[in-house]
C-alpha cells in the first residue's frame, strides 16, 4: 500500500490539530481518505458525502491531476491535495 502525503486545506485543520500536511497510506483516494479518517475522525464526511461523492466545493488532486472520483489511483510518494473552492461573500 502506497505511502503518500496529504496536504490539508485550512478549513479542515481543526481535524488535524492544525497540521497542514499528514502522511497517509492507500492505493486509491478512497483508501487514503479512510486512513486519514482513522487518524482524524470526522474529516472525511466534511469532504465526501454519504453517497461517496466529492462535495461541490471540494477539489481533490493527486499530484497535479484533479481526481473526480475516489477510485483515483495513488502511488508511492504521491501528494494528495485537498483544496477548497468557494466563491462569493
Amino acid at each position: 500500500m502506497a505511502g503518500c502525503t496529504v496536504r490539508i486545506a485550512s478549513p479542515l485543520r481543526t481535524y488535524t490539530a492544525g497540521a497542514a500536511a499528514l502522511p497517509a497510506r492507500g492505493g486509491t483516494l478512497a483508501e487514503v481518505l479512510a486512513h486519514l479518517e482513522q487518524r482524524c475522525p470526522g474529516i472525511r464526511f466534511r469532504m465526501i458525502d454519504e453517497q461517496d461523492r466529492i462535495r461541490p466545493h471540494m477539489r481533490l488532486f493527486v499530484n497535479t491531476d484533479e481526481a473526480r472520483a475516489l477510485s483515483a489511483q495513488v502511488r508511492e510518494g504521491d501528494t494528495v491535495h485537498i483544496v477548497c473552492a468557494l466563491s462569493g461573500g
Partner: protein, 371 residues
C-alpha cells in the same frame, strides 16, 4: 445562570447574555467563525446542553453538542446522513441540517433533525450518532410529497413532538406540506386540508403546500399554529381542516411571513412578523415599517406591536428560526427576533416595547432563548 439568546448566523455563532432582569444584554462571540449556523437549540431535559447545526461554504453539514452551556463544543461522531443509495435509487445527500428538535421528555437523549433536501433523522444518544428515519425518508410517497423543491432544495423543519405521546409527531416541508405520524415516524399522512397553495396549478391539493413555520402549544398540544407561504392558520385537533386566522389581519398588511411563536402559558396568544408577499415577493417589512402582530384570542383578532421599531425605511427580513419567545416564569415573556441584516431586536413585556440589542452581525438565521 443568565438568560441567553443564541444567535446563529451565516458566519458563526453569537450569544447575548442578559443582566438586570433582561434590561441589559452583553454580546459575545463569534464561535465557529465562518460556519453557517442554521439552528441552535437548548435541551429542556438537560438545560446545560445545546445542539447546533452547522456547515461551512466548503464543508459538509454536521452537528455539534455542548454540555456546558456553550463554553465547549464536540462534533457528532455520525452526523445526519441519508442511507447509501441502491442501484437505480436517487442518491440523496444532506446539504444542510436545517432544524433541530429535542425528543420527548421521557426520552432523555433523543433528538430529531430535519435537513435539506427533505430528510428526517433521529439520535438516541444526545446527538452523537444520527440515523435516518426510514419511515419518512424511504416512504414511497416522499418524492411526490417533496416534489417542488426550489434550487436550494426543499427544507424539512418544524419537527414537533407531542408532549403527551413520544410517538406522535408532526413535520413540515417547505415546499411539501405538513405531515403527521402516530407511530414514531414509521408512517405519515399529509395534514394540509384548508391551507391555500395559490402558487400551484391546482391549489386544491392534498400536499405540496409551503408551511413556513409550525408551532404546537405545550399546554394544549392539540392546538397547532402555522405561518404558511399562503397565510396564517390554526388547527385544533382532532379536526383536520386548518382555519385561516390570518383573515383577521389588516388587509394592507396581509398574513404572509416566515416565523410564528407562541406564549408558553397561553394557548390563545401568538406573535407573527408579517412580510411583503406582493408581486415579486420582496419578503421585507411592509412599506419599510416593521411590526410584529399579536393575537390574544387564537387568531380572531390581531394587534400591531411596533413601539420602538423603526418608523420608516427599515426593510427587514426575519427568517423562520429567527424569532423566539423568552420566558423565565417572571412576568410577561420577551419576544425576540434577528434580521438578515444582522440586527437583534427585543420586545419587552410581550412585545409592547422594542429595542435593538445588537447590530452589524452577519445574516441571522436563528435566534433561540435559553435559561
Amino acid at each position: 445562570m443568565a438568560e441567553t439568546l443564541w444567535i446563529g448566523t451565516r458566519k458563526g455563532l453569537f450569544a447575548l447574555r442578559a443582566a438586570g432582569a433582561r434590561r441589559h444584554w452583553k454580546l459575545s462571540g463569534p464561535r465557529f467563525l465562518g460556519h453557517i449556523i442554521h439552528h441552535v437549540v437548548q435541551d429542556p431535559r438537560h438545560p446545560r446542553s445545546l445542539l447546533l447545526a452547522a456547515k461551512t461554504g466548503h464543508l459538509g453539514p454536521t452537528v455539534f453538542r455542548s454540555d456546558d452551556r456553550g463554553r465547549s463544543w464536540r462534533e457528532a461522531a455520525e452526523p445526519p446522513a441519508f442511507r447509501k443509495a441502491g442501484d437505480g435509487e436517487e442518491a440523496r445527500a444532506v446539504q444542510r441540517v436545517f432544524w433541530l428538535t429535542p425528543g420527548h421528555h421521557s426520552e432523555s437523549a433523543s433528538w430529531y433533525a430535519g435537513s435539506s433536501p427533505a430528510g428526517l433523522f433521529r439520535s438516541t444518544d444526545g446527538g452523537e450518532r444520527w440515523q435516518p428515519v426510514a419511515g419518512f425518508n424511504d416512504h414511497p410517497m416522499r418524492p411526490k410529497w417533496a416534489a417542488l423543491g426550489t434550487p436550494d432544495g426543499e427544507f424539512l423543519h418544524s419537527i414537533l413532538v407531542d408532549p403527551r405521546d413520544p410517538a406522535h409527531l408532526y413535520i413540515a416541508i417547505s415546499i411539501g406540506g405538513v405531515f403527521e405520524s402516530s407511530d414514531a415516524g414509521r408512517s405519515w399522512t399529509p395534514l394540509n386540508e384548508g391551507c391555500a397553495a395559490d402558487f400551484l396549478p391546482d391549489p386544491n391539493v392534498e400536499y405540496g403546500h409551503d408551511p413556513h413555520c409550525l408551532a404546537q402549544h405545550p399546554l394544549r398540544p392539540d392546538r397547532l399554529y402555522q405561518q404558511n407561504h399562503c397565510g396564517i392558520y390554526r388547527l385544533d385537533r382532532p379536526a383536520r381542516r386548518w382555519q385561516r386566522i390570518g383573515v383577521a389581519m389588516p388587509k394592507k398588511i396581509g398574513d404572509i411571513g416566515f416565523p410564528i411563536v407562541l406564549h408558553p402559558a397561553d394557548p390563545d396568544t401568538a406573535w407573527v412578523l408579517p412580510m411583503d408577499g406582493q408581486t415579486v415577493w420582496p419578503r421585507t417589512s411592509i412599506d419599510g415599517k416593521p411590526a410584529v402582530y399579536v393575537t390574544r384570542d387564537a387568531g380572531a383578532s390581531w394587534r400591531r406591536l411596533d413601539r420602538g421599531l423603526p418608523r420608516s425605511q427599515a426593510w427587514l427580513t426575519v427568517l423562520r428560526q429567527a424569532m423566539c419567545v423568552g420566558a423565565d416564569g417572571r412576568g410577561q415573556p420577551g419576544v425576540y427576533f434577528g434580521t438578515t441584516a444582522g440586527e437583534v431586536w427585543a420586545g419587552r413585556n410581550a412585545g409592547e416595547s422594542w429595542s435593538c440589542l445588537a447590530r452589524h452581525l452577519p445574516e441571522i438565521y436563528s435566534v433561540s432563548f435559553a435559561i
